[in-house]
């Protein structure tokens, strides 16, 4: 049972209630970690991104006024942190949607892996722009509106990106499933 409604949670967060922060963390930690992990493809960097996200949430939650936007606000912070780390790593920074990895070792791994691993590998081979909409929709169950807010995009762009990402995934996964 949820100890807080969205409104109560926001009030408590703004008041600096540590229990409310822990609750917020428990509520979103899995989804945020998966999101960062899929974007960064590096476990330790995903951990750093999540920690930095909560540092920002902790210090800036007073700026949130609408309780229904809390989740998309946190995911937006996580996205910015993840892309910041990606830029530091200097790889994978392009959001070019047409990009799909053609790294032979990745392709080879895709061939060899079992179905579940193969699906994960296929998702990881997508461009960051495709990957994030797939993760937000399929793993986190975010609505089109939320994804548009998180990715600073429009609903129609989200629909289009999801469609294209799924077409790429279908093409790759039908070979292994």
């Amino acid at each position: 049972m949820n100890p807080y409604t969205n409104e109560e949670l926001l009030v408590q967060l703004r008041a600096g209630d540590r229990k409310a922060f822990l609750y917020l963390y428990e509520l979103h930690k899995h989804g945020l970690f998966q999101y960062c992990l899929r974007l960064l493809r590096d476990g330790s960097l995903a951990e750093d991104a999540l920690q930095q996200t909560f540092e920002k949430v902790f210090s800036k939650c007073s700026t949130v006024t609408n309780p229904s936007l809390l989740r998309s606000w946190i995911f937006t912070i996580a996205r910015n942190e993840a892309f910041g780390l990606m830029r530091e790593k200097s790889t994978d920074v392009s959001l070019d949607d047409d990009y799909v990895s053609t790294d032979p070792s990745a392709l080879d791994m895709l061939e060899r892996n079992e179905a579940a691993d193969g699906v994960r590998s296929a998702i990881e081979m997508l461009s960051p722009g495709y990957r994030e909409v797939i993760v937000l929709r399929e793993y986190e169950g975010a609505s089109y509106d939320e994804i548009a807010r998180i990715t600073n995009s429009t609903v129609s762009a989200v629909k289009s990106r999801l469609f294209k990402a799924r077409c790429v995934l279908m093409e790759r996964i039908t070979r292994i499933v």
Binding site: F33, G43, Q51, Y144, F163
Partner: protein, 154 residues
């Protein structure tokens, strides 16, 4: 509407975000188009595969890191991100600092060169020596018939 547009609509349909009017049009098309029916099956299978591939690989140590942050105890060991942030700061400022140092060095060397070119030290010394000799060799001045000793004049 063509099959490409219906296929995009199928993607929205599997997300349960398709409005009723579009859903009616889509299903009318699906009754007559085997390719789009195949696409719908493919999309549904893909969704199942993605959900089945979901794995909870959440690291337990992260609870400690973030828990310490929330409860007020900062983690003692700096994270990889912080060290890489420091690296970025170093990289970001190392070039401007180097440029400033080079410019300062050039300015100092330039001023030394200009000083030595236009105000050579040996000429100044020579000039001073000549003035000294001149003062030392001042002739005795006669004032109203009295000789004045100029040796004490400096």
């Amino acid at each position: 509407m063509n099959c490409g547009e219906y296929k995009e609509m199928i993607s929205v349909y599997v997300d349960r975000e398709l409005v009723d009017a579009d859903a009616v049009a889509l299903f009318a098309h699906l009754t007559t188009c085997a390719a789009c029916r195949g696409h719908l099956n493919g999309m549904l299978t893909l969704r199942e595969s993605i959900h089945a591939s979901q794995r909870d690989d959440f690291p337990a140590r992260l609870d400690q890191r973030v828990g310490a942050l929330i409860l007020g105890d900062r983690p003692a060991v700096p994270s990889a991100a912080r060290s890489s942030a420091a690296r970025v700061i170093r990289n970001k400022f190392s070039i401007p600092v180097s440029i400033v140092l080079v410019l300062l060095t050039m300015a100092v060397m330039g001023s030394v060169y200009v000083t030595s070119t236009y105000f050579p030290r040996h000429e100044v010394i020579e000039k001073n020596e000549k003035q000294l000799v001149y003062i030392m060799e001042l002739p005795q001045v006669e004032v109203k018939g009295q000789a004045v000793d100029t040796k004490h004049i400096r």
